[in-house]
Symmetry: C2
Subunit: 233 residues, 2 copies
């Protein structure tokens, strides 16, 4: 017998966009774990900090600042090891995940290491995808429309090909790829259908047309391209 | 001056997957509106029924059972008219939306009719997309993977083309298209990567491999195809 690994989505940033289910699990948890990027606070922990009484036992997953995969993978190796010690001792561990755990979330790195060995339950959360659409006041897709979720690091050619073949798209992980993405969208004549959203649902949130977007974007930014048909018809 | 139109995502079905924000808005609302399919209870209303004290003023959007667009569009014309009467009288109206309002949600039909004239705010909800992934215990996408959201009614040719050109996919609105979708996935050799999820997060939920899936599916069902790379690496 061993503990349960919970991957809990805490939503996009606004603390009120957490679900009742996530909140209940987090409040009753003895042990919480969360990623923390080198040099910053843990975003996931700040989302829930107002709701719970610390100290609980906290497992900090220290993610080094690096474009390389190996250092982050190493951090997840260490975290998985620490978490499994508790699971082996029949303790549940609640892993906090920004947005939704299975939608481009870092929880997958723990999931791939631990879900084969331990009972795992994932609590879905409000994703950045639908939050960006909500704050931009732009419907993502309806009826028989195709929606493409595209990571910003894709090549110019691939972004061009995929954006020409979809009703709407969300481009994730914009960051330093913004300039390239703007060029692709502009060359396709889609700029007037495109919106830039930064830190959706937080106080510092920015919603701009793509034409107004800055040259450099933070990691937590997204571009929506919604050229969908008129849902009135 | 007029009232505010709120499109509020109430999540996929489990009442605990509602957000604090949605709950607060619904509890304090004087007037709620929701779609109700002919012959059944309103799914959106049942999700929140345990939380609030009725009667409030309720606007029922009666959706006729029909494959045609026109009767449903007519129902939204009537609902928009009724809602605008309250908005004009400076009353806020909270529209309940299953899942997320902007992710293949029927709220768009009201949004397209009313958001140009009245202040509109959308509260994102937990979508069926990430809920199906959570209950199937299958990560949707990570890193630079492409995720395609495809409606089941697409033609066999289009489904084939799009499924061959993505890391993972979610096929929505499966319903009576299940047989066709199974054939496409099978012909592409993707059956072993594919999962069938019905009524995710509800007590009646079913999670099956695609090979085990029934021949006929309800409307609230989804197929996940997740052939993504191993996130361990």
């Amino acid at each position: 017998m061993s503990g349960i690994l919970y991957g809990v989505g805490v939503g996009p940033g606004d603390s009120e966009l957490i679900t009742l289910k996530a909140l209940k699990l987090i409040k009753s948890a003895e042990i919480i774990a969360y990623p923390k990027l080198e040099g910053s606070e843990s975003f996931a922990r700040t989302i829930i900090a107002g709701f719970i009484e610390f100290p609980k036992k906290e497992i900090v997953i220290d993610i080094p600042m690096s474009e390389q995969r190996l250092p982050a993978q190493k951090a997840y190796d260490i975290a998985a090891e620490r978490i499994s010690t508790y699971l082996e001792a029949d303790k549940n561990v609640v892993v906090l995940c920004e947005g939704d755990p299975f939608f481009y979330g870092s929880f997958m790195y723990l999931h791939s290491r631990l879900s084969g060995k331990y009972e795992t339950e994932v609590i879905p959360g409000v994703s950045s995808l639908t939050t960006c659409a909500a704050v931009a006041n732009r419907p993502l897709a309806a009826r028989n429309e195709v929606l493409a979720i595209l990571p910003g690091p894709l090549s110019e050619e691939e972004l061009t090909r995929r954006l020409s073949d979809t009703n709407s798209a969300a481009i994730m992980k914009v960051g330093r790829h913004l300039k390239k993405i703007k060029r692709v969208i502009n060359d396709l004549g889609l700029t007037r259908f495109s919106y830039y959203v930064e830190r959706a649902s937080l106080k510092e949130q920015k919603v701009l047309t793509l034409a107004e977007a800055p040259e450099i974007a933070p990691y937590f930014s997204m571009i929506l391209v919604t050229k969908g048909e008129d849902p009135w018809l």
